[in-house]
Symmetry: C2
Subunit: 458 residues, 2 copies
């Protein structure tokens, strides 16, 4: 049963180092795969003691890896970088494929930016590209969805796929911390980058959702087709409204679903009910939910999901395990070409719904200067746009909460003039809601841009 | 990319019918597999309208399936039965392998009873046997553990793998129902068999754990090596003690872990802390937890797990999806022989710990005739056996609760003489505990056999 495989690695950072360690320590031998690292590309070969006494293993020329005569598989773990870096990395991956090597990558930014060229090349060269580590970090997602559950008919795939955002929202929900305070903790703990925009702004989750939707629905989504909203404007009081009035909490959800043949895709904080399983996934943990048309597991959440996969969304060890799972898969499938022909996956989806046509119920939090007739004025705008108001929520607030809502100098309102409240709306479209909110924003009593979030439905 | 595959099916019950439906409705075509059913064995071909106008599809001779000249894969979905049936089913599977067909089975009882002969035959014939549907029903478990996570070093695998037991315990915990009442509900809802012994007694979970341990640790466990306890003696008051004094609940856990090179395996109700993820898996839902040495996901449960797989543990549709996932896997790996060489899986486990040597902290619930000096007498027995008492818990009880604890006529104790209480013990072995409890059982103040449960630790 033992199979031999030779591996070249592009990258010697946290993940690359862990991949190397696991191979050298025989972790793939467990199931009969005898693996060997033949070459490692890094820009900085010096000061990497974990690689032991093999300095000749290193090269500063990536083409010595992608063209190595002994390498069967090239592992690309170069981490996210700017457009120029991604362009160079794409050239290296394409070179590896043209040289008859399969590729395993953990670089989701690369696949999002240059996926078309990489898939086309893989097909031309009859080579595989695998990317389990690009979605949900270490959690097995692509294998289960494309193999074990391949006979399902997908209805929806969604989850919490950015650990930094989920950590921040969990801290805000459970400890009443402010966004800035929770973000600072995330940075201190090493969860968030110095520049956390890709995490908290939803771009990291968006890239994962693009890949997840492609393997689930065979849909090629462009980043612009996804309704994306970050968590930066969530305020501590939003958790109070969600909990006390809505019996729920707020989670940043990446979601793709088949809505009557049209694919809906969004990455946005949502108000989710407390008794939904997704509300119980806390901290940096990631989770991916899958709902199909065949399985009926009697899940407690009223059929919102059939399967959930939970685990570490990041970390060198977990990511390296996912990368080596792909290597193992390639070895086990020798002679086969398991690249994913995205456009040929049958899923019952025939179109992608534009962002403005996405439909949901909504939570809208207003901050206004307290004066009579405001609620009436706002409801009239919604009425004009055929949007039905469902509930209106008000809570008591501390002076501190009120002042932090409007920021410095906003309208010069004294704290006893600041009135926050929440209006929940029956199902409407993002486009209709935006138009209504644009009109409301022109009213002089509005002290802060209204925050609007979808309310969960599967 | 399209691959053609011809399938023979042994069985036309709920699962067999669902497998047939999914194939006929093109569910495997999603990822480019063109499948066709060539023959179906059933004892009762009449009255199966779902198979449409193809009565020639049926045979009452299983060897017409296992020896069908066109069949590439034989799917065996004949459900659990007695020893004679299992013996016959084994003969059919062996015949299929000898005829050069791969086998996919959903029959865990078959693998537990005749696994050795089946694996040996598969190896001799260079054919595959796959069994994703045998562990965790529809949840992808074997694929993720043996492929995606193959580079991990397993430390523990555990979970809730019997939906009936978990439904009953959930009802008792959340609604204060009695065991008998919750069991009756499970039967009325179709979760529990008319003869529920295999479920509530832990034998179903034991069979799943045998398979789970084999693919995780490469360990051949015999049923006798697993410490097994059913849920029949759990009483409503045990949930009160677990919740009010132990801040936890009771779940029937199937667990295998590497304890310093020795494998520990058990299926038993355990007291689990409320804030552990396993306490939040309710109803018939199944969940399998995996803990490795490499991944560190910062899971909220103090490193008790890295990955969790949640989903339907049963149901015709989900089971059929799992079976067809295996079929897909076999097609994708054509030319490979992915049978599982259990004895060659490297996992750091070198022995199996005998049941008496299993170690845990324990919850022991006593029911005694109230008189002075009892706690002292009991503690003295524990002391003699070098077992340290950790806590003693007492709650107020209703007359009804007290009487239901001792049953009719037990010692003729009036309800105000019945005293239940719980002693928790520091870590000790099952053997030591049993010896102590045997001595305590001889005391004349003991009104009911003490109930002892391990307290959770990973």
């Amino acid at each position: 049963m033992a199979s031999r495989v030779h591996i070249g690695i592009l990258g010697a950072g946290t993940v690359g180092g862990a991949v190397h360690d696991l191979i050298v320590n025989g972790h793939l031998a467990r199931f009969g795969v005898d693996a060997e690292v033949v070459k490692v590309y890094t820009r900085t070969p010096e000061g990497k003691p974990r690689y032991g006494t093999s300095p000749e293993l290193f090269t500063t020329d990536p083409y010595e890896v992608t063209g190595h005569p002994d390498a069967d598989i090239v592992v690309e773990v170069l981490g996210a970088s700017g457009p120029d870096d991604l362009c160079a990395q794409k050239d290296w991956v394409v070179d590896a494929l043209r040289n008859g090597k399969s590729v395993v990558t953990a670089n989701k930014a690369l696949l999002v930016a240059h996926g078309d060229e990489i898939w086309t090349t893989a097909r031309e060269c009859n080579q595989a590209v695998r990317f389990e580590a690009c979605v949900g970090g270490g959690i097995p997602i692509i294998g289960p969805l494309t193999q074990s559950l391949s006979a399902e008919r997908p209805a929806a795939v969604y989850g919490l796929v950015n650990g930094t955002s989920n950590y921040i929202l969990t801290e805000m929900a459970q400890r009443g911390r402010s966004y800035g305070d929770a973000l600072a903790s995330a940075q201190a703990l090493g969860y968030a980058e110095a520049d956390p925009d890709a995490d908290v702004g939803g771009r990291d989750a968006e890239a994962k959702l693009l890949l997840l939707a492609s393997i689930t629905f065979g849909a090629r989504l462009e980043p612009g087709a996804i309704h994306r909203k970050g968590i930066e404007r969530i305020h501590a009081i939003d958790f109070l409204y969600a909990a006390r009035k809505g019996r729920g909490t707020i989670k940043s959800v990446a979601l793709a679903r088949n809505a009557g043949g049209a694919l809906e895709a969004m990455v946005t904080p949502m108000v989710v009910p407390d008794d939904h399983f997704i509300a119980r996934i806390d901290g940096v943990t990631n989770a991916v939910f899958f709902k199909g048309e065949v399985s009926d597991g009697g899940s407690p959440d009223a059929g919102d999901w059939d399967y959930v996969f939970v685990g570490p969304g990041a970390g060198g060890g977990a990511t390296a395990v996912a990368v080596l799972g792909d290597v193992h898969e390639l070895v086990a499938r020798s002679g086969d070409t398991p690249f994913l022909p995205v456009e040929s996956i049958v899923s019952g989806v025939s179109s992608v719904r534009p962002e403005d046509d996405l439909r949901a119920s909504f939570y809208v939090r207003f901050v206004v200067r307290d004066q009579s007739g405001i609620v009436g004025e706002i409801c009239q705008v919604f009425g004009d746009k055929q949007i039905n108001v469902s509930e209106i929520w008000q809570l008591e607030h501390t002076e501190e909460e009120l002042e932090s809502l409007v920021g410095a100098g906003k309208g010069g309102a004294a704290s006893d003039e600041i009135l926050p409240f929440v209006i929940t709306l029956e199902e409407t479209s993002v486009g209709q809601l935006r138009q209504a909110l644009e009109r409301i924003a022109q009213k002089d009593f509005v002290l802060a841009e209204p925050l609007w979030l979808p309310v969960w439905r599967a």
